[in-house]
């Protein structure tokens, strides 16, 4: 089954067509995985979180209101919240049982890629999310403010700070 747009798929999902969820999954699986992977640097965790996001969407799709915003924003919001909850839990686990927790991120890439990965990882969590959502996912500052639950002005200032930090980390000349 195919739909001409995600809006149509959502409409079909709301009408009870479960196959529409598969269509939405095919559309958003890759971007969501890429966002989570770039944020966490962990393949298995990223797969897990994408699956959790769709599990939540299956339960909450009726809460999506097209008048309040785009579906893409709604889905990224679910993914971001799910990711943050999991990361907080992991951090607690790491504090309580440091020997059992995974210590280092896995790098299986080229040197240049590792440099960029490390630079992105070195950004504080809120700045990292803003850079990733702006650059790789082409979301507007308003959309990012909805996903991260922060004012648009904060997104703007944090993006400015993040870019400055990234330029230093990646040794990019300031204009």
């Amino acid at each position: 089954m195919s739909y001409s747009s995600v809006d149509e798929a959502i409409l079909q999902l709301k009408r009870g067509d479960k196959e529409a969820l598969e269509v939405i999954y095919k559309m958003y699986k890759a971007p969501l995985y890429q966002f989570i992977f770039r944020y966490t640097n962990n393949e298995q965790l990223s797969i897990d979180l994408v699956q959790d996001t769709f599990e939540k969407l299956q339960r909450k799709y009726h809460q999506f209101d097209p008048e309040k915003g785009q579906f893409k924003t709604y889905l990224y919001q679910i993914a971001y919240n799910t990711m943050m909850t999991r990361l907080r839990r992991q951090s607690l686990f790491r504090t309580l049982l440091p020997l059992l927790a995974e210590r280092y991120p896995h790098h299986e890439n080229s040197d240049e890629k590792i440099t960029v990965q490390t630079a992105i990882q070195s950004l504080p969590e809120d700045l990292r999310a803003i850079v990733l959502l702006t650059y790789y996912h082409d979301l507007t500052q308003k959309e990012i403010s909805t996903i991260l639950h922060i004012p648009v002005g904060t997104v703007k200032s944090k993006l400015h700070r993040a870019l400055k930090k990234l330029k230093v980390e990646l040794e990019v000349n300031e204009d």
């Binding site: 770039r38 797969i47 897990d48 699956q51 702006t134 400015h160 870019l163 000349n173």
Partner: protein
């Protein structure tokens, strides 16, 4: 375009961070969950001890040596 704030040099660097998407289903199976937990890479306890390749090889081959030994001892 939201990327206007990223200058050319920075964009070139960020573009190097490509991510390949593995194939995985929408729903988790219980078997997958167990397998993922089981095969998840474990951290090295006490990395400051400085493990060497030889030590790792000996440890990984230990079961292969212990199993026939146990069998021989059991038969005696």
């Amino acid at each position: 375009m939201n990327n206007d704030q990223f200058d050319k040099e920075l964009k070139e660097k960020l573009d190097q961070f490509t991510v390949e998407v593995p194939d995985f289903p929408m729903k988790k199976s219980k078997l997958n969950r167990i397998a993922n937990w089981f095969f998840n890479p474990a951290s090295i306890p006490f990395p400051e001890a400085g493990y060497k390749k030889g030590a790792f090889l000996s440890i990984s081959w230990l079961p292969v040596l212990i199993l026939p030994l146990t069998f021989v001892l059991f038969m005696l």
